[in-house]
């Protein structure tokens, strides 16, 4: 019995230390395979998910999320209360336009899952919402952490190339030429 107890706790410790909590993605994305060994950074990273013609945005760190929402509120003349900021800081990924953000934040976790998120709007102008989110996120990260924000693009393998190109164009228009593509390791 003692041995069994030892093994069980050893395994438990192993799992707690190595595993990362699975985050619920509002959009199911099958990332393409590649052979790169490098892992996605944990900190100061913003993820742009592209799939089914929709764009979702997510950023790590609750303090960054709070500050980001405040800045976005200023830019779009929409005031967010501290309570809304607190609630927003717990949302890992979202894909709603600024006009629906108040409504989306007010929902609880289960309602959010059922909420039909229409994706973050990007048009051809240089000042679209996705561009603002990225730009403000970069500023906030720089101000709070004094580090450059790293941008990761999570695209679905079956998507057509122009979907991805649309996001890259937004990034390039603000002079962000370096980013990472999220892939999974090919199992051989």
């Amino acid at each position: 019995m003692t041995a069994m107890c030892d093994v069980a706790f050893l395994l438990l410790t192993f799992f707690i230390l190595t595993a990362k909590l699975r985050t619920e993605d509002p959009l199911h994305i099958d990332t393409p395979f590649s052979s790169v060994p490098q892992v996605v950074p944990d900190e100061n990273v913003a993820t742009i998910s592209v799939g089914k013609g929709k764009i979702f945005f997510g950023i790590e760190g609750t303090d960054i999320r709070k500050a980001l929402l405040e800045e976005m509120g200023k830019q779009y003349n929409s005031h967010f209360t501290p309570e809304e900021e607190q609630r927003f800081s717990l949302i890992p990924t979202f894909g709603v336009p600024m006009s629906q953000l108040h409504q989306f934040i007010a929902l609880d976790e289960n309602q959010r899952k059922d909420f039909n998120q229409s994706g973050i709007q990007t048009d051809t102008s240089a000042n679209n919402e996705l561009s603002s989110w990225i730009y403000q996120a970069r500023l906030v990260t720089k101000n709070l952490k004094n580090q450059e924000l790293r941008i990761a693009i999570k695209g679905d393998a079956r998507d057509m190339y122009p979907e991805y190109k649309r996001v890259v164009d937004v990034l390039q228009r603000q002079g962000e030429n370096k980013f990472v593509l999220i892939t999974q390791l090919k199992s051989k």
């Binding site: 069980a8 395994l11 990332t31 393409p32 990761a152 679905d156 998507d159 228009r173």
Partner: protein, 179 residues
Amino acid sequence: MAELDTSGGGKHKGGKIRSKKASTRIDLTAMVDLAFLLITFFIMTTTLAKPKAMDMFMPDKSKKDVQLPVPETRTMTVWLGANDKIEWFIGAPGKTPPTVSNFGKDGIRKDLVEQNQKIKATHTGPDNDMIVLVKPSDHSTYKNFVNMMDELSIAGINRYGVVDITPAEVAQLKKDGNY
């Protein structure tokens, strides 16, 4: 193990009567149950496969004056067409007919390595490596693009660029039935 000797030694003749001590062995069943329950919980809720990050560098669009002339003979142009098809050629467009290839083991990977060696052998000087221009068409998938970038890094080609495809090139892809 984990048990103390509580027998209290041998029997003494007419010795004192000792009270029987309770065993120090603990019942671990509940603890093991709990541990396995937690293990199950962690296996279910967490993910072990960490996503991988492929670095991408795009050219700076704001600097228009730093276009270096690229020698045609060292340039390989790769078009990504529909249905996972690839067409590639060396040199200026229109001079050599493009070769149709795919993402298989004997496809673009072999082509990249072979052409790179050929170009290294025919050119002299320190600057004799191959330059690859990747031109994904609108009908190629994101997977094709990521695969292509991966093949370039596998083949050890450091000089490459992602360029928009031109209508003339799309027309050629269409003619070959790969668009």
